[in-house]
């Protein structure tokens, strides 16, 4: 017979979309890690700015977007993940008509600040079902924030500058990592067990792998995304 805690956990998992991993976490087990590298077989194309044909002059140069950034995460999180309810804060800045960082990964309950560090107005908004919002136009030096309470992918845009876009990936657990410039990632503090590991990049289809995290060790998993 299932205990009330098990029933509650199953219900919570169903609500959040995450199911507990097949491996249960032994209390004496030491947590491990998953690390590796994500390679993009086809480099993402440069960020496209709509040709300013009707402009009087050359628009400001836009730095190359960080489109190579990928996110690696556990599709099925261990039970312990659901006990973490600590809210957090993160920042997605607006500089030189670009969102920095281009990809942000946060846990549910996180409040993301959107400061305007540019020289001009911006209007951050999202039409995503996960968290639709529109912060309106606000000037340099000001910041507005949004709290993300549901897991999912949030596509962020600027209503004034159509070439500005970014992603916020909201997870119901803390087992994710954003790759660095070399494509490396590391997810720490993973309880030993078998998991489905997913690598996501905006320009390519995400790819999943089965991974077994040994007791107190690091599992190495590399991805090569098409």
């Amino acid at each position: 017979m299932r205990t009330p805690i098990a029933v509650l956990t199953a219900l919570l998992a169903a609500m959040t979309g995450f199911t507990p991993a097949t491996a249960t976490v032994a209390s004496a087990a030491r947590n491990g890690a998953i690390a590796g590298r994500v390679e993009l077989r086809r480099p993402p194309s440069a960020a496209g700015r709509r040709p300013g044909v009707s402009d009087l002059g050359t628009p400001a140069m836009q730095p190359t977007a960080e489109r190579q950034m990928s996110v690696v995460y556990l599709e099925s999180a261990p039970r312990g993940a659901f006990e973490q309810t600590e809210s957090d804060r993160a920042v997605m800045d607006q500089r030189n008509e670009t969102f920095v960082p281009h990809v942000l990964a946060v846990t549910t309950g996180t409040t993301v600040d959107f400061p305007n560090s540019d020289r001009i107005y911006h209007n951050v908004f999202s039409l995503s079902k996960t968290r639709p919002f529109d912060l309106g136009r606000y000037p340099v030096g000001r910041s507005k924030s949004v709290r993300f309470d549901r897991p999912g992918i949030v596509r962020v845009f600027c209503d004034i500058h159509s070439h500005m876009s970014a992603f916020i990936l909201v997870f119901g657990h803390p087992f994710f990592s954003v790759t660095d410039a070399a494509g490396r990632y590391r997810i720490n503090n993973v309880p030993p067990g078998n998991y489905t590991l997913v690598a996501w990049n905006e320009g390519v289809t995400s790819e999943s792998r089965q991974v077994s995290v040994p007791d107190g060790s690091t599992a190495e998993v590399d991805f090569s995304l098409k």
Partner: protein, 412 residues
């Protein structure tokens, strides 16, 4: 039914249904949302498609019909409220300092037209100064340069940039009475001098074509300025010179605070062809269009306000005194939710009074228009808009017209 019957909801629904079906299909297809980029960013191609349908009602006319008063017709004989429009824009970087830009547009069943095609040269890497040559964007005012899809909160155009007055570049009135006869008939105007075939007249400033010439543009701090020399006129931009004259245009704008832009513009050019001027026994330089404009835009939080005014005068060697027109427009947009916006525009186009031996009147029929509506973003780049527009005119066969319009807009 009486004179002021409302639009039949069933008929309107039948008209809107195809648009809604297309909107759903477009939103579901996952069409491109960003420009196509080739050659490591050297070539960028973007596009937009808009499909507009409308149901107009004028007194003594059918309940749901086309714009019988021709209030919304453009110089390509199309109504802006019943139009399928597609455009492709491209920029090709030819080096560190040179870029080629082009804009191809297709309107209804017409052949595609090169709206703009020019070279942009940036001589100094660290200075915000450009020289553009070819078929270039308008120097004057602010509306003509705005991207229609993103920057027009409504469906219709401002009167100054679209409404056709009776004046033509290839036909001229001999007397003031010739002008009076054409009041409110700019969509099909005819005069005794020059080409006597009835044709569409000219708007005060043309938002549907760009002129050909050279333009310099610079910005420093809060000030931005541009000046150009082109072959046509503000009312009639052209590709090939047709009168030996040149349009001189300039614009200065300042951005004193974030979200506030104020600009002034001026333009002067002969606006008739050499042939029609000769038919009047004069030179093209005796027929000059002079325009002054002022525009202000202010935005903050979820609202946007715009004001623009154009004061235009026409010298006609055949008629005294000088003809004048004043267009004033104010519009606002408010974003209610991330997906929904509402907007409204109030627009007036007035003309000075002149006299013939038998009559004293404004040389063209004054027009007032209001338009109110809103939009729903199915996706960031797929918008469905609805608007209601009401026009009144002090002249012409149809003096009042109300139109309900729906538009589906897609851009990448």
């Amino acid at each position: 039914m009486g004179k002021h019957r409302i639009l039949s909801p069933v008929r309107l629904l039948l008209l809107t249904l195809p648009l809604l079906c297309t909107a759903h299909a477009v939103a579901a297809q996952g069409l491109p949302a960003e420009p196509f980029v080739f050659g490591d960013g050297r070539v960028v191609v973007s596009g937009d498609v808009s499909m507009t349908i409308s149901c107009a009602h004028a007194p003594d006319a059918a309940v749901c019909t086309k714009d019988t008063g021709f209030f919304n017709f453009s110089d390509y004989d199309d109504s802006t409220l019943r139009m399928l429009r597609a455009g492709l824009s491209a920029s090709v970087r030819l080096g560190g300092k040179l870029t080629a830009l082009g804009d191809l547009r297709l309107q209804n069943a017409h052949r595609p037209r090169p709206y703009g095609f020019y070279l942009r040269f940036r001589p100094f890497e660290r200075r915000n100064f450009d020289i553009q040559g070819g078929r270039i964007p308008s120097t004057f005012g602010s509306f003509a340069r705005r991207a229609y899809n993103a920057d027009n909160p409504l469906i219709g155009y401002p009167l100054a940039y679209q409404y056709l007055t009776s004046l033509r570049d290839d036909a001229l009135p001999r007397t003031v009475d010739d002008l009076f006869r054409m009041r409110g008939r700019g969509w099909l105007s005819s005069f005794p001098l020059g080409d006597q075939t009835p044709e569409a007249g000219m708007p005060l400033a043309n938002a549907f074509r760009w002129d050909t010439g050279i333009q310099a543009h610079g910005a420093a701090g809060i000030v931005e300025a541009a000046a150009s020399v082109t072959a046509g006129s503000l009312a009639h931009p052209i590709f090939h010179d047709n009168n030996g004259g040149k349009q001189l245009a300039a614009r200065v704008s300042i951005t004193p605070a974030a979200g506030l832009v104020a600009g002034v513009s001026a333009s002067r050019a002969p606006y008739v062809t050499s042939g029609s001027a000769a038919a009047a026994g004069a030179a093209a330089n005796d027929f000059v269009q002079t325009a002054f404009g002022a525009d202000v835009e202010y935005s903050r939080a979820h609202y946007l306000l715009r004001f623009e005014t154009l004061s235009v005068s026409y010298d006609l060697a055949t008629i005294e005194p000088r003809l004048r027109a004043l267009a004033t427009m104010v519009e606002g947009r408010y974003k209610v939710t991330p997906r929904i916006h509402v907007a409204a525009r109030l627009d007036h186009l007035g003309f000075n009074t002149i006299s013939s031996p038998t009559r004293t009147d404004a040389w063209e029929a004054p027009v007032t228009r209001w338009e109110a509506g809103g939009g729903y973003a199915l996706q960031r780049n797929v918008n469905l808009r609805l608007s209601m527009q009401h026009n009144t005119r002090d002249g012409g066969r149809v003096r009042r017209m109300t139109a309900l319009s729906a538009q589906l807009l897609y851009w990448f």
